[in-house]
C-alpha cells in the first residue's frame, strides 16, 4: 500500500499546498497559516449547500411560490364548487397533497378539504368519499392540524351526505377524548344520523342532551324527526311532527316538507307526494328545483323510477338548475341508477342551437363520460348513444364514448365500442388504438400491447407504420413477447414494414440488445413472407443502427445469424450486400464481411456471361470487372485470383482495386503488393482510393513490412489522396492494432510518418497507441516516458490515468512521484491532485483518495469530476462512483446535486432502485436540494421497478418545454410561428393538468403570440395566467403589444380598457401603443374616446415622449369626419389659439379645392378672432394653391386696410403668385427663398416645428 508520505517527500517547491497539507496531516500539528487556511476551507465547505440552492432558485421564492400555488388551488376549488356545485377527486387530492407538502395545514384549510368530501363529489361512490374524508382527517391531524367542533361537524355532515353508517355515541366520545365540546350543530347532525337509521330512541337521547344544555330545538331537528318516524314506517307520527312543531312555535318550512316528501317518495307513494306538493303551492310555499331533485333521488333510490317524470314535470328551471340536475345525474350514475340519470339529463332545457346546420351542439358528453368512468356495460352505453342520436342531441355519441374509454384506458370497453361502431358502419382507424398502446407502453405491458393489436386485427384495422414505430416496437425486450406477437397477429404488414426501405427513418435502437432473437424471429418470418429485398434492407438497417462497439461486441451473434441465413438459402441483392459490407468494414469487423459474403451470389451468372462474350469475341473488360467484384464480394479470393490470372490482359483498374482490397482483407500481403505493382506497371498514374491504401498499410504493418507501409503512406501524400475524418480513425485503428501486438517500432514509425507527412494532426486519440503499446507489454516506465515525450512533442498526455493506476497498483512510488511532479509542473497542482485522486479511486485506494480530495483550498473542477463520473457510469463502477460522491461532499464549490445525479444515472442504468432510494435518503441527510431532473431520474428508476415514488415529481419539464420554443433563436418566421404554437399547446396541456408556470413564462408567450397577431390565443393565455397567478398582470411591453394588436383588430374599446388597466397598475405603455390607438380613434371620428385617452395619459405624455400635438392632430382628423367649425369655435372660445391655428392649417390641407371657403366661413363666424394675421396667411395659402390671383390681391388690400402686418412668408408667397401670373409685384419682394422664410418661422414656432408637416 502506498503511503501518503511517499509523495510528500519530494513534492517539489511548487506543490506547496500538497506538501503543507500532507505534512500537517502526518504530524498532526498545524501551523497557524494552515489553520487559517483550513478554517477558510471549512467555511467554504458549507457554501456548496447554499450555492446549490441559489443555482436553482432562492428557497424563499420556492416557498412563496408554493404558498401562491396553494392559494390558487384553493381558489380553484372554491370557484369549481361555486360554478358547478361539484369538484373532482383529482383536484381535491391535488390540493390535499399540496397541503401535505407545504407542511403546516391551517385549520381552515383542513376544514375546506373535509367539507369537500361529501355531496360535492357526485362522481365518487359514497363509501369512497367517506374513506377520502377519513384519510384526509388522519393525515392532516398527523401534520399538526388542530381540529375543533367545526371540523367534527363537517365530518358529520360528510357522513350524512354519504349515508355513512356510524355510531353517534362513539363519535361523541371521540370528541370528548379530543376535548372538543359538541355544539348544537353537532347534536342536530347526530339526531339526523339516528333518524336516518329510523332510531327514534337514539334521537331522543340526543334531544335530551340538547334540552339539558338548553340548546334551542330548530326546524332541522324536527325535519330529522319526520325522517326518523317515516323510516320506522310510522307515517302518522311523521305527519304529527308538523303539529308538534307548531305547538313549539315553529312553523314548518321547506326543509320539513322536503323531509316528508322524501319520506313518501321512499315509500313510492306518488299520490301523497303530489298532494303535498299541491298543498305547498296552495300555501304559497316554495320548494326549489333543487329540493325536487332530492325527491327524484329518493324515488330513484327506493326503486320507483317510474314516478320520476311526475316530479320532473314540476321543475321551474330556475337559475342553476342545470348544474344541480347534472350533479344529480352524475350521482345517480355513480350509484348505479343511470337510467334515472338519463331521464334527468333529458329533462335539461336545451338551448335552441343557433346554427344547427353547421356545427351541431353535442349534448350529454358529461353523461357518457361518467358512464364510461363508472364502467357501465356496453349495452347500456349503446342504448344511451342510440337515444341521444335519435333525439338529435349528439352528432357522434359512439365516437365520444370511445374517446372516453380510450382516455381512461379502458381497453376492453374501447375494443367493444369499436366493434359496435364497425357494426354501425362507422369507420375505424389505426390511431384509435394509440391511447391504449401508449398506456401499455408506459407499463411495458407487452401482453396488453399484443392484445390491442390482435383486437384491432380482428376488427380489420391493420396497424400502420406509425403505430409500430411509436407504440409497439419500443416494448420488446425479449424473444418470447416478440414471438407472441408473431403468432398472434401474423401481421404481414408488420414484417413488410420491418423490412421496408423506409426503415431508415425508424429507430432501431430497441433491437440493439437483442440481436439473436431478431435473427431467430427473422428466420421465422422469412419462412412466412419470403422477400429477398426485405431481408437485405432489414439487415442493412439493423447493422447501420448499431454502433461501432456494439457490432464488435455482437460479432459472434451476427456471424451465427449470417450462417443461419445462408442455411436458408437467403440471398441478398448485391447492391444491398455492398452497403452492408461497407458498414462492416467501417466497423472494423473484416471477419464478418467474409461470412456475410456467403449470402450474396451472382457469380455464376457473370461467369456464364463472360464465357459467352469470350466465345463471341466481344470485349469482356466490364463483365470481368463485375465478376472480380462479385467474387470479392463473396470473399472468394482463390477464385478471384484465378479469374484474374486467366483474363489478365483484360483486367481494368477497378478489378485490381477490388482484388487488392480482397487480398488485404484476407491477409494476403504478397498478392496484394504484387497486384499493386502490376496495376502500376500498366499505368503508373493510377491511384487507389483511400480505403484500399489504408488496407494496404494495415496489412503491411501487420506483416512487419514497415518500410513498405511507410512508402504507401508517402504515396498517399504524393498522390494527394483525400483524407477524411474516417481516414484518421483508420489511422488510429492501424496504430492501435500494432500497439495491441506490442510492436513499438511499428507504432512509433507509422505515427511519426503520418504526422510528418501531414496526413493527420496530432491528437490525443492518435497518440494513445504510443502509450498503449507499452501498457500492453506491461512496461509502465516506458509508458510514462512515452506520455511525457508525447506531451513534449504534441502537448498531449494520453492515458495518464491508466499509467497512474498501474503505478499505484505496482506500488511504484518513485515513478509515481515522478509522474506527479511532471503533471504538477506542466498542468498545475490542481490537475495533479485530481489525477492522483482519480487514480486512487480507480484502484480502490479510497483512504488515500480521501486525503487528496480533502486538500484544503482544493476546488471542484466540474469538468474533471464529470469525466471520471461518466467513466464510472460507462464501466459500471458503482462502488468507485459512490466513493467519489461521498468524498467530494465537502469539496469547495462541488455541485452536490450534480454528483448525486451521476450516481442516480448509474442506478438507473443498472436498474438498482434500492441504491437509488438510498441515494435519495443520503441527499436528504446532506440537505441537498435536488434539481428537477434529478428527481425525475430518481422517480423513473423507482417507477420502472414498480416502486412508489415518495415525492411529487416536478413537472418542470413543461416549463422548459414552454421556454424552449420561445428562447429558440430562429430566423425563419414560419418556424418561429410553429414554435409558438407548440409552446401555446404545451401551456394548454399543462393547464389541463393543473401545472403552473412562472409568471414570466406566460408573459413571454403572450408577447410572442401578440407579435404573431394571435390575439385570441394571447388573451386565452392571459386569462389562464390571471386565474393561476394571483395578481398576474402583463408587463409594460406585453400590454402595449396587446393594445396594438387590439387596435389592429379594430377592437378599440378593448384597447382603451387595456390601456386603462395598464395605467391603473402604474405601468408605462409604449408610446407607439398610444399613438396607434389615438390614430385609430381619429379614423373612426371618435372624439370622445380621444379625449378620454388624452386624459388618461395626461401625466405620462411627456415622459414617454407623446407630444400633445398627437392629440390635437388626431382630434382634428376625427373632426374632419364632422363639421370642423364646431371644434374651431371650441378652440376659439377656450382661447386655444395655437390649436385653432393648427386646425386651420389642417383644413387647408384637407380641403385644398374649396377656395378657402371654409376659412372664410370660419372668419364670418368669429370676426374677432384674436390672431387674424395667421388666418389671413392661411387664406393666402389657399388662394396660392388655387392660383387665385384676384382673391389674393383682394386679401392683400384688405390686410393693408386693416393694418395687419404682413410677414416675409406672406409677401414672398404673394410675390411668387403674382410673378407666376405675370403681374407686377407692388412691394419689395423678400430677397431669400420661400423655404428660408419657412425655416425662419419654423424656428420661431418651436412648439409646432416637429408636427406641422
Amino acid at each position: 500500500m502506498l503511503e501518503q508520505q511517499t509523495f510528500t517527500k519530494s513534492a517539489g517547491v511548487n506543490s506547496s499546498v500538497l506538501a503543507g497539507v500532507l505534512s500537517c496531516q502526518q504530524s498532526g500539528c498545524r501551523s497557524l497559516g494552515v489553520e487559517v487556511f483550513l478554517s477558510a476551507g471549512e467555511l467554504f465547505a458549507i457554501a456548496p449547500h447554499q450555492k446549490g440552492k441559489v443555482q436553482e432558485e432562492p428557497v424563499l421564492s420556492v416557498q412563496n411560490k408554493q404558498a401562491q400555488h396553494f392559494d390558487w388551488a384553493l381558489n380553484k376549488l372554491d370557484s369549481s364548487v361555486r360554478r358547478t356545485g361539484r369538484i373532482t377527486r383529482t383536484l381535491l387530492l391535488r390540493i390535499f397533497h399540496d397541503m401535505c407538502r407545504t407542511g403546516y395545514p391551517s385549520s381552515n384549510q383542513a376544514l375546506l378539504l373535509l367539507r369537500s368530501c361529501g355531496s360535492l363529489l357526485p362522481e365518487v361512490p359514497l363509501c369512497e368519499r367517506t374513506e377520502l374524508a377519513h384519510m384526509i382527517w388522519g393525515k392532516l391531524q398527523d401534520l399538526g392540524a388542530v381540529y375543533d367542533a367545526s371540523h367534527y361537524n363537517a365530518l358529520l355532515k360528510v357522513y350524512l351526505q354519504n349515508e355513512h353508517k356510524f355510531s353517534p355515541t362513539e363519535f361523541l366520545s371521540k370528541m370528548e377524548e379530543a376535548n372538543v365540546q359538541p355544539n348544537r350543530v353537532t347534536y342536530q347532525r347526530l339526531i339526523a344520523a339516528y333518524c336516518n337509521e329510523g332510531d327514534i330512541e337514539g334521537a331522543s337521547k340526543i334531544l335530551g342532551f340538547m334540552k339539558m344544555k338548553e340548546l334551542p330545538i330548530t326546524e332541522a331537528v324536527f325535519s330529522s324527526l319526520v325522517t326518523g318516524h317515516a323510516r320506522t314506517g310510522d307515517m302518522e307520527n311523521a305527519e304529527n311532527i308538523f303539529s308538534v312543531m307548531r305547538d313549539a312555535g315553529i312553523e314548518p318550512g321547506p326543509d320539513t316538507y322536503l323531509a316528508l316528501l322524501n319520506a313518501y317518495a321512499e315509500k313510492g307513494d306518488i299520490n301523497s307526494v303530489k298532494q303535498i306538493l299541491e298543498k305547498i303551492e296552495k300555501m304559497e310555499g316554495y320548494l326549489m328545483d333543487r329540493d325536487l331533485l332530492q325527491v327524484i333521488y329518493s324515488l330513484a333510490k327506493a326503486g320507483y323510477p317510474q314516478y320520476v317524470p311526475d316530479i320532473l314535470s314540476q321543475m321551474r328551471y330556475e337559475r342553476g338548475y342545470i348544474p344541480d340536475a347534472m350533479n344529480l345525474s352524475l350521482n345517480l350514475i355513480t350509484q348505479g341508477l343511470e337510467d334515472t340519470a338519463f331521464q334527468v339529463f333529458k329533462s335539461f332545457p336545451t338551448l335552441p342551437s343557433e346554427n344547427h346546420s353547421e356545427t351541431s351542439m353535442d349534448y350529454g358528453n358529461f353523461f357518457l363520460q361518467h358512464c364510461v368512468h363508472m364502467d357501465k356495460p356496453l349495452s347500456k352505453l349503446k342504448q344511451f348513444c342510440d337515444e341521444l342520436k335519435e333525439a338529435n342531441m349528439h352528432s357522434s355519441p359512439l365516437q365520444f364514448t370511445l374517446y372516453c374509454a380510450l382516455e381512461s384506458k379502458k381497453a376492453a370497453l374501447a375494443i367493444n365500442l369499436m366493434k359496435t361502431m364497425k357494426e354501425e358502419g362507422l369507420p375505424l382507424r389505426p390511431h384509435y388504438s394509440w391511447p391504449l398502446l401508449v398506456g401499455y407502453q408506459k407499463e411495458k405491458n407487452v401482453q396488453g400491447t399484443i392484445g390491442v393489436l390482435k383486437a384491432m386485427h380482428e376488427l380489420g384495422v391493420e396497424p400502420d407504420v406509425e403505430t409500430y414505430t411509436n407504440y409497439v416496437l419500443t416494448n420488446f425486450d425479449d424473444i418470447q413477447t416478440f414471438r407472441a406477437l408473431l403468432q398472434v397477429s401474423l401481421n404481414e404488414q408488420f414484417f413488410i414494414y420491418l423490412s421496408s426501405p423506409s426503415m431508415p427513418s425508424v429507430n432501431l435502437s430497441h433491437f440493439k440488445g437483442c440481436l439473436i432473437f431478431v435473427s431467430v424471429i427473422l428466420v421465422e418470418c422469412f419462412l412466412l413472407f419470403f422477400s429477398t429485398e426485405a431481408v437485405g434492407y432489414f439487415l442493412y438497417n439493423l447493422i447501420d443502427s448499431m454502433s461501432d462497439s456494439e457490432v464488435q461486441a455482437k460479432e459472434e451473434h451476427l456471424r451465427q445469424y449470417f450462417h443461419q441465413l445462408k442455411k436458408m438459402n437467403v440471398v441478398i441483392p448485391t447492391n444491398i450486400y455492398r452497403g452492408i459490407r461497407n458498414l462492416l468494414a467501417a466497423y472494423h469487423v473484416p471477419e464478418l464481411i467474409k461470412v456475410c459474403g456467403y449470402i450474396n451470389t451472382e457469380v455464376s451468372a457473370l461467369e456464364e456471361e463472360l464465357e459467352k462474350l469470350k466465345a463471341e469475341k466481344q470485349p469482356i473488360g466490364n463483365v470481368l470487372k463485375q465478376l472480380i467484384v462479385a467474387l470479392c464480394a463473396e470473399e472468394n479470393m482463390q477464385k478471384a485470383l484465378e479469374v484474374k490470372a486467366k483474363y489478365e490482359p483484360d483486367m481494368v483498374v477497378g478489378g485490381y482495386a477490388a482484388l487488392i482490397n480482397l487480398c488485404c482483407r484476407h491477409d494476403n500481403v504478397e498478392d496484394a503488393m504484387n497486384l499493386k505493382e502490376e496495376v502500376f506497371r500498366k499505368d503508373s498514374s493510377v491511384a487507389l482510393d483511400t480505403n484500399k491504401y489504408l488496407a494496404l498499410v494495415k496489412v503491411l504493418g501487420k506483416h512487419g513490412r514497415l518500410e513498405d507501409a511507410i512508402n504507401i503512406l508517402k504515396e498517399i501524400k504524393e498522390k494527394d489522396i483525400p483524407i477524411k475524418d474516417t481516414t484518421v480513425t483508420s489511422f488510429f485503428h492501424i496504430l492501435n492494432a500494432a500497439a495491441m501486438r506490442g510492436e513499438v517500432e511499428t507504432v512509433n514509425r507509422l505515427h511519426e510518418s503520418i504526422l510528418t507527412l501531414g496526413l493527420a494532426k496530432p491528437s490525443t486519440n492518435l497518440c494513445t497507441p504510443l502509450i498503449t503499446v507499452h501498457l500492453e507489454k506491461d512496461d509502465v516506465p516506458s509508458a510514462l516516458e512515452a506520455t511525457i515525450d508525447c506531451y513534449k512533442k504534441y502537448g498531449k498526455m494520453p492515458r495518464l490515468h491508466d499509467i497512474l493506476c498501474r503505478l499505484i497498483e505496482q506500488g511504484n512510488t518513485e515513478l509515481l512521484q515522478k509522474a506527479m511532479d511532471f503533471v504538477s509542473q506542466e498542468r498545475g497542482e490542481m490537475m495533479m491532485l485530481y489525477d492522483i485522486f482519480f487514480a486512487f479511486l480507480n484502484t480502490g485506494k479510497y483512504k488515500e483518495a480521501k486525503k487528496i480530495i480533502e486538500t484544503p483550498g482544493l476546488r471542484a473542477r466540474p469538468g474533471s469530476l464529470q469525466w471520471f463520473a461518466e467513466k464510472c457510469i460507462a464501466t459500471n463502477q458503482m462502488e468507485t462512483l459512490e466513493n467519489m460522491v461521498e468524498m467530494t461532499q465537502k469539496l469547495f464549490e462541488c455541485d452536490r446535486d450534480e454528483m448525486y445525479y451521476y450516481l442516480l444515472k448509474l442506478c438507473k442504468i443498472s436498474n438498482d432502485w434500492r441504491k437509488a432510494e438510498a441515494t435519495w435518503t443520503k441527499m436528504q441527510e446532506e440537505n441537498v436540494i435536488p434539481r428537477a431532473r434529478t428527481l425525475r431520474l430518481l422517480a423513473d428508476t423507482l417507477k420502472n421497478n414498480g416502486q412508489e415514488v415518495p415525492f411529487d415529481v416536478p413537472e418542470v419539464i413543461y416549463v422548459n418545454a414552454l421556454y424552449m420554443p420561445l428562447q429558440c433563436n430562429v430566423t425563419s418566421q414560419l418556424f418561429f410561428f410553429i414554435l409558438i404554437v407548440e409552446a401555446y399547446n404545451i401551456l394548454l396541456e399543462a393547464q389541463k393538468k393543473d401545472i403552473m408556470f412562472p409568471a414570466s413564462a406566460y408573459s413571454t408567450l403572450i408577447k410572442a403570440l401578440l407579435a404573431e397577431g394571435c390575439l385570441e390565443e394571447a388573451l386565452k393565455v392571459k386569462n389562464i395566467a390571471e386565474t393561476h397567478i394571483k395578481g398576474f398582470t402583463l408587463n409594460d411591453a406585453a400590454s402595449s403589444l396587446l393594445i396594438i394588436t387590439q387596435v389592429r383588430r379594430d377592437y378599440l374599446k378593448d384597447a382603451i380598457s387595456t390601456l386603462k388597466k395598464v395605467l391603473e397598475s402604474d405601468m408605462v405603455p409604449m408610446s407607439l401603443a398610444v399613438i396607434r390607438l389615438i390614430q385609430a380613434l381619429a379614423m373612426k371620428g371618435d372624439l370622445e374616446s380621444i379625449c378620454t385617452v388624452e386624459k388618461m395619459v395626461e401625466n405620462l405624455a411627456t415622459s414617454i415622449g407623446l407630444s400633445r400635438m398627437l392629440f390635437v392632430n388626431n382630434t382634428v382628423l376625427a373632426h374632419i369626419k364632422k363639421p370642423a367649425t364646431d371644434l374651431f369655435l371650441q378652440y376659439v372660445d377656450a382661447g386655444r389659439v395655437d390649436d385653432a391655428r393648427f386646425l386651420l392649417q389642417v383644413i387647408i390641407y384637407q380641403e385644398r379645392n374649396s377656395s378657402g371657403q371654409k376659412i372664410k366661413t370660419l372668419l364670418d363666424l368669429v370676426p374677432d378672432f384674436p390672431d387674424m394675421k395667421i388666418v389671413y396667411s392661411y387664406l393666402l395659402k389657399c388662394h396660392a394653391l388655387d392660383n387665385d390671383v384676384v382673391s389674393a390681391k383682394t386679401l392683400f388690400e384688405k390686410m393693408k386696410s386693416e393694418n395687419i402686418h404682413t410677414d416675409e412668408i406672406f409677401l414672398k408667397r404673394l410675390a411668387v403668385l403674382l410673378k407666376n401670373a405675370g403681374e407686377p409685384v407692388p412691394f419689395t419682394e423678400p430677397p431669400e427663398s420661400f423655404h428660408f422664410y419657412v425655416n425662419k418661422l419654423t424656428q420661431e414656432r418651436q412648439e409646432i416645428s416637429s408636427h406641422a408637416e
Partner: protein, 105 residues
C-alpha cells in the same frame, strides 16, 4: 427533407385546427387532396395520451391548392367543421418598426 427544401423552398401551407380526435393524417391528407397535391401533412400527436393535439399543417405543392382550399367557405370532415386558415408568416416587427409618430397624410 433537406432536398425538398432546397429544390422549391416555398410550401403553401394551411393551418388547420379544431380537428376531431377521430381524424388522423390519412383522412386529412385525403380530404385536402381535392384542392391540390398535398405535399405534407403534419398532425402532432401527444405521446403521453396517444391523442393528437387538434391541429395540423397542410402543405400544398402549389399556391393553387392553397387558394382552392381557402376559397371553400367551410370545411366539414366527418360532419365536424374544421378551422382552416392560411399559415401566417409575416413578422410583427417588420410591420411596425418603420412607422413614425404622427403620420397624418
Amino acid at each position: 427533407m433537406a432536398a425538398t427544401r432546397g429544390s422549391s423552398r416555398r410550401v403553401f401551407e394551411l393551418f388547420v385546427s379544431q380537428i376531431h380526435w377521430t381524424l388522423a393524417t390519412k383522412e386529412l391528407r385525403d380530404y385536402f387532396a381535392q384542392f391540390g397535391t398535398v405535399r405534407k401533412c403534419t398532425l402532432p400527436f401527444d405521446k403521453e395520451t396517444g391523442f393528437h393535439k387538434g391541429f395540423c399543417w397542410i402543405g400544398f405543392s402549389s399556391e393553387e391548392g392553397l387558394r382552392n382550399a381557402l376559397q371553400k367557405e367551410s370545411h366539414i370532415l366527418d360532419g365536424i367543421k374544421l378551422q382552416v386558415q392560411q399559415q401566417k408568416r409575416r413578422s410583427f416587427r417588420s410591420q411596425y418598426t418603420n412607422e413614425g409618430e404622427t403620420d397624418m397624410s
